[in-house]
Amino acid sequence: MAAYIFRRLVQAFLILLGVSLVTFVLLYLVPADPARQIAGRSATAETVANIREQLGLNLPFHEQYLRYLGRLVQGDLGRSYLQKTEVSALIASRLPASLLLMAGAIVCELLLGLTMGMVAAVRRNTRIDQGLMVLSFVGVSAPQFVVGILLLYVFAVQFGWFPIGGYGTFAHLVLPSVTLGFLGAGWYSRMMRSSMLDVLRQDYIRTARAKGVTRLRVILRHALPNAILPIIAMIGIDIGLFMSGIVVVESVFGWPGIGQLTWQAIQRVDIPIIMGVTLVSACAIVLGNLLADLIAPLIDPRIKLR
């Protein structure tokens, strides 16, 4: 187990190295000139050249990258070009809000998705099944800003059950979480339905029924843990999906998280922030996957980590 985690962490380190290189290359190729962005339109060519000198932007590519890596190892993500603060501090101040939002979204998508999938499988080929699958199709295909605005209009404006935007209380969390989790819920319900149908055909389900176990227990105790296994692996991947989702959802709901920070940075070509956020996201995805792989053997004793 310890050996397994060690090996995975080594892998994770290599992945992050790769991610840093790829993002660095991409941003190096961006036509916009960060020095000009910082200096402003009216600055003289000399000022721009000075800034370029200061930031090391005139060095050859590999030197720039090595300098960047050197700072990275010390935990220094650089300074924002425009906000003049440490990127690590900026991210640290925004991260809790985003993590809270993601946690809410995971709860939403699991609750919604798994229940929908399970009910659809048990009531296979009925109206209920068809209705749930239409709903999941909407979840998969509707753009998040549309879902967000729709939810805002109905539940915040019309009914006034939830605040329109902002951050602070549980009530603030509900609508953004549902919006962010709705897409995943759509996917999960479809996966859960087919996984559940597959499990319900298994011999051990027949055995359980032959024992005279109640129908509810057959579904919850025998079918559910087996059906949920392939989904757990998906949750790790989902964190990547959330990373793109929060950019939209945080903008719609005015949620003070990493998504908004990223959006602003992209608009202003604030390269250190973009790099920092990308690395933090990559970390989150790698850790999420590791976590999912560590949870799987708790449910399925046949899975051995080595």
Binding site: A3, R209, A210, P301
Partner: protein, 605 residues
């Protein structure tokens, strides 16, 4: 066994049972007008081939049919004075497991993989009797002890994947009998098990039934099992009972032509005693080419699989699947490789066709097979082909069977266009199929026909050797007999050699010239068929032969010779040096391993 039982009231009484499945052309009956009575303590065997409706009968009684695709359309199933066919799901739940329990065919998949044995057992109890968890646990332990499983306390905490097939089937039996049901239905309970394990399970079921007086419905395709277990037999064909009666009457004086056919097709181990050569050519002298060059020569073949782990993902343990075996096959000869699951017989076959990396040397048609050189593997594959066990899984469902049979010719660039078409057509006629079958897809054929297609595919490259890995095991006896006939016919026409891998001693007796018995990756006995099967010298061979149930109720065994415990594991730490068995010639090329050297046979007669 029980004449007084007839006077008593039957515990289960089925009248006019009719079960239908939905098809695009409307409901089709799979069980039609079934009548039988089951008395307390009696064993009724329902025998029949696949599709006869015997499993559907069991599922109908348990009301476990996959509704709404299949449902009971008529008749009654009387348990006491309740008609199960008309019971609601809630009431039926109280019957299942409590009054009628069931054991299924596949012990490997019939237990929930994510629940411990203990919780699955206690669940069977608490589903019907409210009891405290400590009490349920004690009762579960008792149930495990009753099925004579080793280390019952530890088993309670284990998961199904940690148990062997035989142990899992014991757990299933413990679960089924935990509440002392009136009726036990066993649907092919030993079909998926090795013969020695089969013998143990049959004995266990019989003993427990005697103790508890449970009435038993045993569903099986194996007439050997029927002869071993039944008081009465019902023979089913196409959803109807064609004949029903006491076991001796059915076997000695079958009235219905179908019963007679079925019994005639059953291969009986020992039928060819004292005769050399396979069934078809039995007694005939083989064309005596003096000392022909062997077409397959295997020397010190070893196959090991690595298990990786640890921080650096290094090899931590190895599965010693095959350990230094040597054998030869002459042209036109059939060598049978027999042994129980996990003994390495299939691995040997796979290594021979180059599907696995191996150590040692293999010569095929005089050419040495080099596992690393693609060119040589390709050339070698023209000389050696394989037929697999499952004719359903080994044909691509999206290709026409004509394309499937012609594919090897295309891959090797041997034929195209009209020539390809003609060669495929002639292969089809050779294996007894029609030319116009070529355009169809695999799902349009029966199991036997599909195996013929696989044989045609293997023949397409005109190989010198065909490896048949359990190629008739999945087929019904009557179909099996015809496929075995075809294989022997092809051998005498084309002079092909076979490596016939099988666990079924009776089938092996019919087809083979020579037999090699494998145990734990090594050959323990090898010789001509009559040497090995008629005068087995190694205790393991003897035990294998004794364990085969004979399709004759007069030769029923009261107790079976038993292998205690499980076969030792072939998994060892890195650096383990296995001891290779030395084979001694006990006369006329009959090779036997030294008994004392054979690892942990664990025998107890």
């Amino acid at each position: 066994m029980d004449t007084s039982a007839d006077a008593r009231k039957p515990v289960l009484s089925v009248r006019g049972l009719r079960t239908v499945v939905a098809t695009p052309d409307g409901p089709r009956p799979v069980v039609d007008g079934l009548d039988f009575d089951l008395h307390p303590g009696e064993t009724l065997c329902i025998a029949g081939e696949s599709g006869s409706g015997k499993s559907m009968t069991a599922l109908s009684i348990m009301r476990l049919l996959p509704e709404p695709m299949a449902r009971i359309a008529g008749g009654s199933i009387l348990l006491g004075d309740r008609d199960l066919a008309r019971l609601g799901e809630g009431e039926m739940r109280h019957v299942r497991g409590n009054e009628i329990a069931m054991i299924f065919q596949e012990p490997m998949t019939s237990l929930n993989p994510v629940m411990t044995i203990g919780s699955q057992l206690t669940e069977a109890l608490t589903a019907h009797r409210p009891m405290a968890s400590a009490e349920a646990r004690a009762a579960a332990l008792e149930a495990l002890k009753a099925v004579r499983i080793s280390e019952p306390e530890r088993r309670l905490r284990q998961y199904p994947h940690e148990l062997s097939g035989g142990m899992r089937q014991r757990v299933m039996i413990a679960m089924a009998l935990a509440l002392n049901p009136k009726v036990l239905i066993a649907d092919e309970p030993t079909t998926a098990l090795d013969v020695t394990v089969q013998a143990q399970i049959l004995e266990l079921i019989r003993d427990l039934q005697r103790q508890t007086g449970t009435a038993l419905i045993m569903i099986t395709h194996d007439m050997g099992v029927v002869a071993e277990m039944a008081d009465r037999v019902a023979v089913m064909n196409r959803g109807e009972v064609v004949e029903q009666g006491p076991v001796r009457e059915i076997f000695h004086a079958p009235k219905d032509p179908y019963t007679r056919e079925l019994l005639a097709a059953v291969p009986k181990l020992g039928a060819l005693k004292g005769i050399e050569g396979p069934l078809r050519t039995a007694g005939q002298a083989r064309p005596a080419t003096p000392q022909p060059e062997p077409v397959v020569a295997v020397r010190d073949l070893t196959v090991r699989f690595d298990i990786r782990g640890g921080a650096l993902n290094r090899v931590v343990r190895r599965v010693h699947a095959v350990e230094g075996i040597s054998f030869e096959i002459k042209p036109g000869e059939t060598l049978a490789l027999v042994g129980e699951s996990g003994c390495g017989k299939s691995t040997t076959g796979r290594a021979l066709v180059g599907l696995l990396p191996f150590q040692g040397t293999i010569h095929i048609a005089g050419r040495q097979v080099n596992g690393r050189d693609r060119q040589s593997i390709r050339a070698m594959r023209r000389d050696i082909q394989m037929i697999f066990q499952d004719p359903y899984a080994s044909l691509d469902p999206r290709m026409t069977v004509g394309d499937l049979v012609g594919e090897p010719l295309v891959v090797h660039g041997l034929a195209k266009g009209q020539e390809l078409e003609d060669r495929v057509a002639s292969l089809f006629t050779r294996v007894g199929l029609q030319r116009d079958h070529m355009r169809r897809h695999p799902h349009e054929f029966s199991g036997g026909q599909r195996q013929r297609i696989c044989i045609a595919r293997a023949l397409s490259l005109e190989p010198k050797v065909i490896i048949a890995d359990e190629s008739v095991s999945a087929l019904d006896v009557s179909v099996q007999a015809r496929v075995l006939d075809l294989l022997q016919e092809l051998q005498s026409e084309l002079g092909i050699s076979y490596l016939f891998i099988s666990h079924d001693m009776a089938v092996v007796e019919q087809i083979s010239h020579r037999v090699a018995v494998m145990y734990l990756g090594q050959i323990v006995e090898m010789g001509t068929r009559s040497q090995v099967l008629d005068t087995p010298r190694h205790p393991y061979t003897q035990r294998l032969i004794e364990a085969v149930p004979i399709a004759d109720p007069d030769r029923r065994r009261e107790s079976f010779a038993r292998l205690q415990g499980d076969v030792p594991s072939p998994v060892h730490e890195v650096g383990y040096v296995p001891r290779h068995l030395r084979l001694r010639d006990v006369g006329d090329g009959h090779l036997v391993a030294d008994e004392d050297e054979t690892p942990a046979l664990g025998c107890a007669a």
